[in-house]
């Protein structure tokens, strides 16, 4: 299979968030615009400089048209990906291809959601499935819960090990002043939490928050003029395996396996080279599944890996250094936040949670019910010459 990608030819020059937690009084485009202006300003740019616009919001199917109008621009290229939480990784990969081809010069990827302030729950815009709805699934929690149950059955993964994922995320959140959930989380209180959808309690599930994020990308030859430490896109790949959980071939193996293999090959790196991992932790089982699937540990050993303290502050593989979807922010779709955190770690601007000498980072996205998986490999300027 030919799987060409313009390794290192494009870079992130701005990456920002806005309104993490609760941001009442704003609509989705207001929030996305706040984040966009911040991210553009990091690169000395304004909305009028954008000619490639990538935006998806939950409540508007024509979102690129609305947002272009809002920003006062007439972009050459627009993209409104609809793969769920992985949309943003896929948009970044398309942006890299379009920038490298000269189809646009400044790409803006933006997302905003006011779901906590307006609905107080996860908003779904999908058609109810005739094959699932009559059984009253608690979507999307029940799909991920059944993946967790299967992983526990096949590999002996324990509830305590799921708890270690939640606790590690909380410890990272305590280093992030913007994170939504910062109070102590102990294994005792985790284990005592009431079951919602076995084996999950609320402590296994991502937050319902507001929030916005934005990322600005340019070609590498211009990036250095706009950013002190540009974040180069070294590899990007996505895989689709199914839509509904009943059609997932194996609930313990996700499309992240192939997406990661492809992205690593494009980037000419391997898992052992990676300094930090930002992955889509909508539920505690996700972190275990995706670490296994990206090759940071063997299939079935993810539970032991997280219980060893490896992913928590001070561990050998910092994972979800902002506190993740579990403790920092999860405004319906979280994928763009993994890109922002990975980019900001490479830029070295993360304050108390900044990890030393971050050269290579993963920004992973997940959409649907473990349905769409996408992996970005991002690197500092020092990683460009390793090809």
């Amino acid at each position: 299979m030919r799987d060409a990608f313009p390794r290192g030819q494009t870079a992130i020059v701005g990456a920002a968030t806005f309104g993490i937690g609760t941001a009442p009084g704003f609509n989705n485009f207001d929030l996305a615009a706040h984040a966009s202006v911040k991210a553009l300003a990091m690169a000395g740019l304004r909305p009028r400089d954008v000619d490639g616009l990538f935006v998806v919001v939950m409540d508007e199917t024509l979102s690129t048209l609305n947002f272009a109008e809002y920003l006062g621009i007439q972009p050459r290229f627009t993209d409104n990906s609809r793969t769920g939480g992985s949309s943003f990784q896929i948009q970044a990969s398309v942006a890299a291809l379009m920038l490298a081809a000269g189809q646009c010069d400044v790409a803006l990827i933006a997302y905003g959601s006011n779901q906590r302030s307006t609905a107080g729950k996860l908003i779904s815009t999908s058609r109810p499935s005739p094959w699932g709805t009559p059984y009253r699934p608690m979507q999307p929690i029940s799909s991920y819960a059944m993946a967790a149950a299967r992983h526990m059955h096949q590999y002996g993964t324990t509830k305590e090990q799921l708890g270690e994922v939640a606790i590690a995320a909380r410890k990272w959140a305590q280093l992030n002043p913007e994170a939504t959930m910062r109070e102590d989380l102990t294994l005792e209180s985790y284990m005592a939490a009431r079951m919602v959808c076995d084996p999950f309690s609320a402590r296994d599930c991502c937050l319902v928050s507001d929030g916005a994020a934005a990322v600005v990308m340019m070609r590498a030859d211009q990036a250095a003029d706009h950013c002190k430490r540009p974040v180069y896109v070294l590899g990007a790949a996505a895989e689709t395996t199914h839509r509904e959980i009943a059609s997932m071939p194996d609930l313990t193996v996700t499309g992240t396996v192939r997406a990661a293999q492809r992205a690593f090959a494009q980037a000419h790196v391997s898992p052992s080279d990676i300094d930090i991992v930002e992955l889509y932790d909508a539920f505690t089982i996700n972190t275990i599944l995706f670490l296994e699937d990206m090759g940071f540990c063997a299939k079935g050993e993810g539970g032991q890996f997280v219980a060893s303290g490896a992913i928590a502050p001070g561990g050998k593989l910092p994972v979800n250094t902002n506190g993740g979807g579990l403790s920092c922010v999860h405004p319906g779709m979280y994928g763009l936040f993994t890109i922002v955190e990975a980019a900001q770690q490479i830029m070295g601007i993360c304050g108390a949670r900044q990890q030393p000498d971050v050269q290579l980072a993963i920004a992973h996205g997940n959409g649907g019910e473990l349905s769409s998986e996408a992996v970005l490999v991002l690197g500092s300027a020092a990683t460009l010459s390793e090809a």
């Binding site: 005739p130 094959w131 699932g132 009559p134 059984y135 009253r136 699934p137 608690m138 029940s142 819960a145 059944m146 993946a147 149950a149 299967r150 059955h153 009431r194 079951m195 919602v196 959808c197 076995d198 084996p199 509904e244 959980i245 009943a246 059609s247 609930l251």
Partner: protein, 122 residues
Amino acid sequence: MGDPLHPEKDFAAHLAAGRFMLQRSRETGRYIFYPRVAEPGTGSTDLEWVEASGVGTVYSTTIIRQKPPTPSYNLALVDLAEGPRMMSRVEGVPPEQVRIGMRVSAKIIRENDVPLLVFEPS
């Protein structure tokens, strides 16, 4: 009946008549669920309706917790003996007793005034 070009409608009509039917590809012999107009992958439209054995195995399971006194209920993925996997519910035992690997049999009930396929332990 038996017209493979109306998958959801035909499945529901069979179920209403007390039959749990699967599609089978005449080209490959493969069974298909959920019903559709073309076999996944091959695109073959030479599909026939055949009665399912109703025998299955629980692939995964969860309990959807409700605030008492509303009873919590089971949600399961069942691997059918014919191959396909489907979402359903295992009844006849408390949801806590539904286990991965449990052998189950299909039955048709009525819920909210429509026929519904559920399973019970064999």
